[in-house]
Assembly symmetry: C2
Homo-oligomer: 150 residues x 2
Amino acid sequence: MTDDENLDSNEAEARAVESRAEAFIGVREARRSEVAEDYVELIAELIHENGEARPVDIATRMGVTAPTVAKTLGRLARDGLITRAKYRSVFLTEEGRALAKECRHRHEIVLRFLLSLGLDPETAERDAEGIEHHVSERTLALFAAFSQRS
Amino acid sequence: MTDDENLDSNEAEARAVESRAEAFIGVREARRSEVAEDYVELIAELIHENGEARPVDIATRMGVTAPTVAKTLGRLARDGLITRAKYRSVFLTEEGRALAKECRHRHEIVLRFLLSLGLDPETAERDAEGIEHHVSERTLALFAAFSQRS
DNA sequence: GCAAAAAGTTAGCTTCGGCTAATAATCATC
DNA sequence: GATGATTATTAGCCGAAGCTAACTTTTTGC
């Protein structure tokens, strides 16, 4: 191997490593917003179904305890996604509503895609819940197109 | 609505809520093993490429600092996935190797699937990294079948 | 309208997974 | 083989997200 080749392959290697690292960093970022997205999406659903989102219902549907919900709602409020008053139900801010809508959209595309691949509804719902936070815009577009034409 | 219908719909509702909650619980469980899986997969790669897995290389490729790697390796050792000696490289246990193999397998299927959907390699790698931890066996089988026949 | 049940909150603990700063060990080079 | 650079570890901080136990507030049913 000449020095030039060596240099080139080292540089190529370095780029590959960096891009890999960036992928991991991206995944970690996505992970950080997962919980908030799940809550906001669920709150929107509850408001739609029941007219209000009570912590106790959020807890039941998320499969966590009431104090966990309380703490998470505190973070959501801090981040400007919801408003709440003590001992009262929760409401979405404009920003929260926008996020909820986006999440619902993504969730539906992923779910429809999995179903159109032939997956059973139970598993599809389960997998969609995990996958929806990790699909890029591009992938989402391909998923949507696939469901459409099948 | 008769009382019977009311009861039925309540029960149906309750089942739906519980199954939703279980989906969330499942996602949280998957999340807990994500980091371990990523590390083990990467360690296997490094050993294959370089003959050994050094913390500094793990750190670079994961995009985290050395102390973060040290702490995580402590957890992996505690959980029986790796062995290590102070100031030395890391090795996989039998269990760690098995997990790494499984992860690599899943990663490849998801990646191939995304590519065969028409996604660009860069984005495919990125999305695969996030998605691979959240696909059930069934979905994985469908992904594999799809890549095969396309 | 009061008492019991349900819902919400607060306090305090745990683990995980990040970080920086400081220290210790190993390696490489002369 | 000493010394400087690289690598690894330790200590200690933080925030997120889970939990239980204890308490307060609200709602409900008689």
